[in-house]
Assembly symmetry: C2
Homo-oligomer: 148 residues x 2
C-alpha cells in the first residue's frame, strides 16, 4: 500500500501538495503571460463571479488575503476594465465591486487555460480515471474554504 522505501513521497498529502503547487505555478505563469493576471487576481474574479458583488473587506476574507492587498488587486483589475468600483450609497465608506463583461470574459479565458492545463496533466490517464479524479477532488474540496 505504502512504499516503505519512499518516505513522505508516498503520502497523498505530499503528492497533492507537489502536484498542486506545480499546477498553481503553471497556471499563474500562463494567465500572467496571456492575460496580465496573477493567481490572486483570478481568485478575486472567481469570488465576484460567485457572489455577484462584494466589498473589499469581504473579498479580503473570501480570498484569504490582507485588506491592503485587495486594494492593489482591485486597482489592477480596474485598470484592466475587469471590475467596477462603486461607492455605496447607503454606507459611503464601502466600495462595492462587481465584474464587468470584460471581467467575465477574462474569467472565461482563465477557465479555458485551466481546462487545457487539466488535460495536459491528466493526459496519461484513461478518460474514466480523469473523470474519477475530477469527482474525487470535487468531493474533497467541497469540505474546505477557498484561499487563493
Amino acid at each position: 500500500m505504502n512504499d516503505v522505501k519512499s518516505l513522505l513521497r508516498g503520502t497523498t498529502a505530499f503528492r497533492l501538495g507537489l502536484l498542486g503547487t506545480l499546477l498553481s505555478n503553471q497556471f499563474g505563469e500562463r494567465i500572467g503571460a496571456a492575460l496580465d493576471l496573477k493567481l490572486k487576481h483570478a481568485g478575486v474574479l472567481v469570488a465576484l463571479d460567485t457572489r455577484g458583488s462584494a466589498s473589499q473587506q469581504e473579498l479580503a476574507t473570501l480570498v484569504g488575503v490582507a485588506p491592503s492587498l485587495v486594494v492593489a488587486l482591485a486597482d489592477h483589475l480596474e485598470d484592466l476594465g475587469a471590475i467596477e468600483r462603486i461607492r455605496s450609497d447607503v454606507d459611503r465608506r464601502r466600495m462595492d465591486l462587481r465584474l464587468t463583461p470584460k471581467g467575465h470574459a477574462l474569467l472565461v479565458r482563465c477557465d479555458e487555460i485551466a481546462q487545457t492545463l487539466s488535460d495536459e496533466v491528466t493526459a496519461a490517464l484513461p478518460r474514466a480515471d480523469r473523470e474519477k479524479l475530477h469527482k474525487l477532488l470535487g468531493a474533497v474540496t467541497a469540505h474546505h474554504k477557498l484561499p487563493h
Copy 2:
C-alpha cells in the same frame, strides 16, 4: 460534466492547485511547529533519502532551488544534526551531504505528519475512494519532476 455556473472553480487544475496549496501550507506549519523544519528542508531530506548522497549543487537542481539557498537549508539541517557535510576527498570543492540517523528519524516524523494530514483531508471519502485518489495522484505525479 462541468458546472457552467462555476467558471474556473470547476476545473481539475484549479481544484488540484487549491487543495495542494492548502495542504502544503498545512504541512509546512506542522513540521515547522513540531520539528523546526520548513517545506524545502523536507524536500532536501526526501532527496537525500532517495539518492543516498548528493552535493549541494546536485541538491539545488533536485529540489529546484538556487544553490545559495541550499547553503542555508543545509546549514539548518546540519544544526539539527539531520545531515552530515563531508568534504569530498577526490574533489575538495565538493561537499557530500548525507542523512544521519537523526535526519532519517525526522523524515519518518514528516511522513507521519503527512499521513495524518492525508487522512484528515480525505476523511469524507469512503476507503475505496481514498485509495483510488492516492493511486491516481501517483500515476499523475510519476510523469513529473519534483520541485519542493
